[in-house]
């Protein structure tokens, strides 16, 4: 089964058409992995939205200060804040970036099994018991 992958972001951002939403929800109903992924991403997004607004540090925006401070003193602070912002953006991006799309081994086994059945050697010598599926139940 192909998992939803990046479609999850499109769904959460409301960028899907109605028919795409319907197909997506049908897939979600039968796919525990994608369903769990949607729940996790919704949680992250809610957490980010609920962060408190903070006041900018004095000196970050010189015009806002009643007493202008020398530019040389602000450079370090600006660099630190910029680095913090970049780190925060990367961190949040890493959290909300969906895991890579995947294909299941069962799907590949199914294709291999179908092709093997055309093999001239097909028969008891080619019997395979798909143990992987069994253990993954």
């Amino acid at each position: 089964m192909r998992h939803a992958g990046e479609n999850i972001s499109a769904y959460l951002d409301g960028e899907m058409r109605a028919d795409e939403v319907r197909r997506f929800l049908e897939h979600l109903a039968g796919c525990g992995r994608c369903s769990a992924e949607v729940t996790a991403l919704q949680g992250v997004r809610s957490a980010v939205r609920s962060l408190p607004m903070i006041e900018l540090p004095r000196g970050l925006v010189p015009e806002a200060d009643s007493v202008p401070t020398p530019l040389r003193r602000n450079r370090g602070l600006i660099a630190a804040v910029a680095a913090a912002v970049v780190a925060a953006v990367i961190g949040i991006a890493a959290l909300v970036t969906p895991p890579p799309e995947s294909i299941s081994l069962e799907d590949l086994n199914s294709r291999f099994g179908a092709r093997v059945s055309l093999d001239p050697a097909f028969g008891p010598a080619k019997v395979v018991v798909p143990e992987i599926v069994e253990s993954g139940r």
Binding site: I103, G123, V128
Partner: protein, 305 residues
């Protein structure tokens, strides 16, 4: 006396290969056989023994397999169709329309030795690649069924033994999930693939393409495997991580089958087949090597595709 002399000379002048049997003919006869049986599969793998007991019904080229150990697993397969059921529910099914091209066998079989097995008259053949014994194959003389197949690694150790423990040459009819009922239907296609035509003595017989997935089927006339290339990763939680040819693979054995999965810079690859362990390294060496996508690569791919 003259007649006897002529016969003796004619026999002596017959080429040695004329006495040997054709592997493809034996396998074709086995494929057409109708019977039901119970089969034990015992494989000695680098990850320990992998065993199973299955019930088999073969009818008109279709094969139905139900596993007793583990239970509830059923596979119905034949002529491009494959359906897997767990506890009576269909888990996956594929119908594939391929050419079914046959590979030129690299193996030879001897003239066979008469024997008895399960109260039936059988013939036991040695399958060799030059001097290397690769398999013992035992066919029922009357029905043609492959009663026993023992495959060997190149060091002479048994890799897998499959043998019937019960045999009935009068099977009941077999119902089978045909193409129209399959979840996935694939037709053979011309594929612009990077996979080699020859791979460690195996011939690429055909290729298939779907959205984001291509695969090719290789055979040497007896052993076979498929190589899958995807633009996504292949999910595989089972098996062991192994280092082969300086690359990291995930490897899993099930009774009669080995699976390798690895990540490449453009997605994922997998190999599924029945190769003895000594062939793994040589085959993997000629396929695209593993190449991990780092954290930044994943982030970039996730953000920008």
């Amino acid at each position: 006396m003259r007649l006897l002399t002529a016969i003796a000379v004619a026999v002596l002048m017959m080429p040695a290969t004329a006495l040997a049997s054709d592997l493809d003919e034996l396998l074709a006869d086995g494929r057409d056989a109708n019977y039901s049986a119970e089969q034990i599969i015992t494989c000695s793998t680098p990850e320990g023994a992998k065993d199973s007991v299955v019930r088999i019904r073969q009818n008109g080229g279709d094969l139905y397999v139900a596993a007793s150990v583990p239970s509830d697993v059923e596979v119905t397969s034949g002529y491009g169709g494959w359906t897997l059921s767990l506890a009576g529910s269909v888990v996956a099914s594929t119908a594939l329309d391929g050419s079914g091209i046959e590979a030129e066998p690299r193996y030879e079989v001897d003239e066979g030795t008469p024997a008895a097995f399960l109260g039936r008259r059988v013939t036991l053949y040695e399958m060799r690649d030059g001097d290397l014994l690769r398999a013992h194959l035992m066919f029922d003389n009357e029905v043609g069924a492959l009663m026993k197949a023992i495959t060997y690694s190149d060091d002479g150790d048994v890799y897998c033994e499959r043998r019937f423990i019960a045999f009935d040459p009068s099977p009941p009819p077999l119902s089978f999930v045909r193409r129209a009922d399959a979840e996935v239907v694939i037709d053979e296609q011309e594929v612009d693939s990077s996979l080699p035509e020859e791979l460690a003595g195996f011939h690429r017989l055909d290729e298939y393409a779907e959205d984001g997935l291509t695969f090719a089927y290789y055979s040497d006339g007896f052993f076979s495997f498929a190589v899958f290339e995807t633009d996504v990763v292949v999910d595989m939680d089972q098996g062991a991580r192994v280092a082969i040819n300086d690359g990291e693979y995930r490897r899993a054995f099930s009774p009669g089958q080995v699976t390798f999965v690895w990540e490449t810079r453009s997605g994922g690859m997998a190999l599924i087949g029945d190769l003895p362990p000594d062939m793994h390294e040589e085959v993997l060496d000629e396929l695209p090597a593993p190449g991990r996508v780092g954290w930044w690569g994943r982030l970039w791919r996730g953000l920008f595709g």
